[in-house]
């Protein structure tokens, strides 16, 4: 994208109409604002956003092209006008709209702060918006628990994080949120089941895992082999074989190579 789209004349013309901001995460110690992306709730590289003059994210392009960027800017311009208008007329309603917008573009990351924000403005939401907000908040809690489960060493902290993930499933009516991100959730819990020597738990997760991989990851060349590998892990677990040592370079087992 950098040496292609960003170097094109079409992009240069587009850039003249906006304030262009570039942030490079470098991991250089002591560098000012190096973790800015994480602070604004961004996940993964590259992240492209359209912000207002206060740095609030108003839109994300749905496609990486000048047409997609222009559509996101147009959407953000409408959101900016609506925000100013609604803040003037109805501050609580404006907070509710802001919460729902942030939820939609995925910039809410802290589960506790987000719930506090939701409780302050839920009175201005319709029932449908409340349901959407509740569901979104539980998904954020699930992501937070997943991060803890991945970073924690085997022990109480990790066990609690796994249980928190199951609690999220209960809050969602006993169903996992069905999206590609569930792959990592299931892999982490399957790894935990392996650690605990619990083939029943592993087996209970496997049908959802296979369905999810076939629905969202079929384009990856190694997808079928990866599914077979999980079946083999389960067979080993039933036979009481010890789990293989964890690979520190690959957490979650994502398969990156495409067909």
């Amino acid at each position: 994208m950098e040496n292609g789209l960003f170097s094109s004349e079409e992009f240069a013309q587009f850039a003249k109409q906006q304030t262009m901001f570039l942030h490079v995460t470098s991991r250089v110690e002591g560098r000012k604002q190096d973790s800015l992306l994480r602070e604004i709730g961004g996940r993964g590289f590259p992240t492209i956003v359209v912000m207002n003059e206060d740095g609030e994210i108003l839109a994300r392009p749905s496609q990486r092209s000048v047409v997609g960027f222009k559509a996101a800017v147009a959407k953000a311009a409408v959101a900016r006008v609506q925000m100013i208008e609604s803040k003037r007329r109805d501050p609580v309603g404006a907070s509710a709209q802001e919460f729902l917008r942030k939820l939609e573009i995925g910039t809410l990351v802290d589960p506790v702060a987000n719930r506090a924000m939701y409780l302050k403005c839920r009175g201005a939401m319709t029932q449908a918006q409340r349901d959407k907000a509740e569901k979104g908040l539980v998904s954020i809690e699930l992501q937070a628990a997943l991060s803890t489960a991945i970073s924690a060493k085997p022990g109480v902290e990790r066990d609690r994080a796994i249980l928190a993930m199951f609690a999220c499933k209960t809050k969602l009516g006993g169903k996992w949120p069905w999206n590609p991100g569930l792959n990592r959730v299931l892999l982490v819990i399957m790894g935990w089941a392996e650690e605990k020597g619990d083939p029943q738990l592993f087996e209970s997760l496997l049908p959802d895992f296979i369905r999810l991989r076939k629905e969202f990851y079929a384009r990856f060349r190694s997808n079928d082999a990866f599914i077979e590998k999980q079946k083999a892990r389960l067979a080993d677990l039933w036979q009481g074989k010890p789990p293989p040592p964890p690979n520190p370079r690959r957490r979650g087992g994502a398969q990156r190579r495409r067909k």
């Binding site: 950098e2 109409q17 906006q18 901001f21 995460t25 590259p46 359209v50």
Partner: protein
């Protein structure tokens, strides 16, 4: 016989200490080089990118134009 062994132990110890002392610095130097290389890209020079968010906000406030933010990394391809 003891003297060469003592020299060998001392040599290995010095090597390890040097590696330990230089390790994080050399890693940081590598990250700094990667950042400099990234910021020297032609695609950056083609567009008037602001690299400080406070400057971008001020410019946006003054011009009324929205901020198009692009977040990338230099430590990996």
């Amino acid at each position: 016989m003891i003297l060469p062994r003592a020299y060998a132990v001392s040599f290995i110890f010095t090597l390890c200490a040097t590696a330990a002392a230089q390790g994080p610095d050399s890693k940081q130097d590598e990250l700094k080089n990667k950042l400099a290389k990234k910021l020297a890209g032609t695609w950056i020079k083609n567009t008037a990118w602001q690299t400080d968010l406070a400057d971008a906000k001020a410019k946006s406030k003054a011009s009324g134009k929205l901020i198009f933010g692009y977040f990338t990394r230099s430590y990996a391809p």
